[in-house]
Symmetry: C2
Subunit: 302 residues, 2 copies
Amino acid sequence: MNDKLEELKTRLGEIADLTNAAAILSWDQQTYMPPGATEARAAQLTTLRKLAHERLVADEVGRLLDELASDTADLDRDSYEASLVRVTRRVRDRQVKLPTDLVARMSRAQALGRHAWEKARAASDFSIFLPHLEELVDLARETAEALGYEERMYDALLDRFEPEMKTSQVEALFAELKAGLVPLVQAIAERQDAVDDSFLTGEFDVDRQWELGLEIVKKLGYDLNHGRQDRTAHPFTISFTPADVRITTRLYPDQLKPALFATIHEAGHALYEQGIGRALDRTPLSDSASLAVHESQSRMWE
Amino acid sequence: MNDKLEELKTRLGEIADLTNAAAILSWDQQTYMPPGATEARAAQLTTLRKLAHERLVADEVGRLLDELASDTADLDRDSYEASLVRVTRRVRDRQVKLPTDLVARMSRAQALGRHAWEKARAASDFSIFLPHLEELVDLARETAEALGYEERMYDALLDRFEPEMKTSQVEALFAELKAGLVPLVQAIAERQDAVDDSFLTGEFDVDRQWELGLEIVKKLGYDLNHGRQDRTAHPFTISFTPADVRITTRLYPDQLKPALFATIHEAGHALYEQGIGRALDRTPLSDSASLAVHESQSRMWE
């Protein structure tokens, strides 16, 4: 079993390197890349994601997983070996259903769409982004059809964020939350002036806002030896293995809350990613459990 | 011929994307990457360079080049088609001699060595870098042996910077330059105080130094829609296609010259890269002609 496991890990390691490299290129696109590089970047991202996909769906990986599935059948379900085979299989089964060409077209549309979204946002002109959004929705539908679904089309896409969850379950959950939240929000809205929050608006030096945010997230445990903060149009967190988990924020000279809470929120995501065991590096086990788990960590700190 | 040429261009395009992605990761390592990410980055760079190498030396590329060489035999030597085949062949012939494993070991040693060099530099402690330097020299010797040479071992490595130039030619050239330069430098040294350059030292706000440098290189023609400047330990220029050519500089609060001339020097390199025809994008024809040509451009502006 050990030889096969090592071969699987070598292959998964290279796939993870390609995926992490794509994430670094995406981070750069959203932080420092000059605007004129959009087309070139779309080509680079497409190639990396295409190669990662091709290598994951390769027959040899399928054979290795089949053989290792029987080799690990008697092991504890939560053992490293059994988990690696089970989770990799789940991820791969999904990718096998997607033609590489669709993965490439989606990757390209996302890279070009992001640039258009930034332009549209800066110009407050939705029409710049609209054709890109239409293409992205078409590609998402094509992806859902390729993946297949029983009940609702969105189930196929939701599965990527919340493994095995159904749209109908989310709707039931949201209905329950809504019943409690709507009266609560109304009650709060009626007392909007009960607390004086005027100190949150005014003039706030952006460099000092930056320092304040970093000071706080360092105290929360965010490790700057394995992370950093940069500016962006819409804050996000991105991981290139737990050794390098970066956060972003945006600053407004007249408001304290947006930058501060964006920094804390993103640091919550980052704490989760930085906390993933390093023994899982460069395997699908290093991915987060689900988007809800991820968001719970960011919201909790925020 | 057209089908074969298109297939070659598709393959070369993906190889260029991998190489450019590696360059972006290297830029990030030298500018923004948190120090704790060094090991992960070495793995990512190694995978990208390994895959680029494997894909270039693939038999199919060799066959395509052989067939296209006869298809383009009657074309003008400087035509796009004939040049693409000739230059790609030259680049590939060299890479074919290198085992992928050696390419991977070199890539890893470079990524780890760079980190050690930065640490050594900050601590003024050469011993931190020494073992890495020894490994890099060993790998360079192994590379030279794999490439082969007739006269001198360094010929094999020099060829990468100055195609087909021999170490003995460089020595003859340097001897001639030395005969003229040594007396010139001595004559200048004797009159060191002839010009008052005291205005170059003093207190210079680093933000204003930054602005001054950028202002000047913009006037020289450096296009910030396809480039940007960042800080680093030792200034360099790096290209990810002519659409994205970045420069770096370092700032000293008590000296004007280092940042200003580094910025101008690197912008000279960048002007050369930004000027390469976009029709050559994602092919080996988009690479610079030689290091001497490159350096002539940076020195001229400086």
